[in-house]
Symmetry: C2
């Protein structure tokens, strides 16, 4: 293969009670990336559209992740990468993860797929480290694997891939306000009560069970976060109103996407998810910032190759 | 039905990372209980063998649980209950839960099964409250339902029943030492770090996933408890040695059964579980207290009716 074009999807990390351990893959929001073999060895980013991002490898998440994999694979040809960003930076739906995961997927493909998708996660995480300071997997893993990705452990890296129930849809609203990750982190307490921890374990275990059994009601009952949402949601305008209208539409529940400011809601069926989108639109009709609203099924396979 | 004889099994609560949320059902350790219709209305415990326990309903877990259900069902006949205790009190493998769960099962059966097993859990929990002060479900739920019982929430009561992987075996050692529950509780810290809580969530979610996919390796990787074992295990003699020999036999892992003093180990296959039992026997060969060691498959259906 001399050239490949891929679709690298947006993702939701910190899925409510799955704070720091669970991410899911969206289907119809994502970047496009093109990879071409070149004679001169090494990796180059030749073009970026849709965002004002540096071409220099060491300053770009796709560059850092891609470079980490290039050093490992050491191909005897070069690779030129073009990135068409569609996911807005800072949106909280895995914009940097899509770049990092896409980079390693594309390079691995041009090299003849020597590594599995699971093995690629480690290299994609190196790109994430550039933006967040820590090599998180809860966006890059679902971007690569699709469905839900559960991070059991980072040391050693141990990731479980779980298919999403067939009729599960996500509605995501991205209010275009700046919410610095450092603010999002500073509101977190570093201890929790044993009671809170056990409640979170109950909801998380129930959520994992609901994914395997497609029990939508149980899934809805589990979408509560004890650790982060009570603190972080105050930074997000209209958070409670957005969740309330989603519940009125019959949605299963939701929470903060990643570190915010996006808010996600999960629903059984497209109709409910569309109702949530309309109701959210009404809530933000008069705010003085732009809002993007996406309705998407869960992407069960992750990054895909485009014809 | 005028008479029924049942087998009410022992159970393991607090399954490592499943502290306060997960229990499992053993197969070949359990009490026998006989229930007979009588003309005189009301519940009576007519005989108890194998343990020095009071016949007075209000002082007996089977009596309290049974009475709670009798008040709800209000049958127009009486019920006489005989209890043959085989599970030692204070062993940490659900002795009181077997009595409470058995009582409500037998009474429900004689009344024509008006309630489901899941509905019986609430009444069995009333018996548990007598001994532990709190109405725990993590022994009575697996005793009634079999397999693994996951307690998502107590308020409202929300329990998920999960089948055990087919080849899963438990080895349990019960050192006959007194370990007061109050001591077991007093060593617990009431707060945990966010990091510990996230680690526990990772292991618990992985364990639930492993049960659905029969992934024994993953199950083994998840059997770590951040919350309780580090504190409580110091009260149990030879705890580390018992876990170490189990690992040498190729066991998946283990922990404290309930609030102790019993220690449980899970293995893939009977052979490994028997090896663990032999190795444990060697560890306690020279201690000055008796030890019971049980090897058991997981009971997938809970309390059963005997011919």
């Amino acid at each position: 293969m001399k050239e490949i074009k891929i679709y690298s999807p947006a993702t939701i990390a910190n899925v409510s009670c799955g704070f720091d351990v669970l991410g899911l893959c969206l289907d119809n929001v994502g970047d496009e990336m093109i990879f071409r073999q070149s004679a001169e060895r090494g990796l180059r980013i030749v073009e970026i559209t849709g965002a004002d991002l540096p071409l220099a490898l060491e300053k770009n998440v796709a560059g850092v992740a891609g470079q980490a994999l290039m050093e490992h694979l050491n191909p005897d040809f070069g690779i030129e990468m073009t990135i068409h960003k569609k996911i807005k930076a800072g949106s909280g739906i895995g914009s940097s993860a899509a770049s990092a995961a896409g980079a390693v997927y594309g390079i691995n493909a041009l090299c003849g797929y020597p590594l599995s998708k699971k093995e690629l996660i480690y290299y994609a995480m190196q790109g994430e480290a550039l933006v967040s300071g820590a090599a998180h997997a809860d966006n890059v893993a679902p971007a690569l694997l699709g469905g839900f990705a559960f991070i059991r452990s980072y040391d050693p890296l141990d990731i479980v891939s779980i298919k999403a129930p067939e009729q599960l849809y996500a509605t995501v609203i991205h209010p275009q306000i700046e919410l610095k990750t450092i603010d999002s982190r500073s509101v977190l307490k570093q201890t929790v009560t044993l009671k809170q921890a056990i409640t979170q374990c109950g909801n998380l275990g129930g959520l994992i069970s609901a994914l395997y059994t497609s029990d939508y009601d149980l899934l809805g009952r589990c979408l509560h976060d004890e650790f982060v949402e009570p603190k972080r949601s105050v930074l997000i305008p209209n958070f409670k109103e957005l969740k309330d209208v989603a519940a009125k539409c019959g949605a299963l529940g939701g929470g903060i996407s990643g570190a915010g400011p996006s808010v996600f809601v999960l629903s059984k069926g497209k109709e409910v998810a569309e109702c949530v989108a309309q109701a959210m639109k009404a809530i933000v009709a008069n705010v003085d910032y732009a809002c993007d609203i996406h309705v998407s099924p869960i992407n069960q396979t992750g990054i895909r190759e485009l014809i």
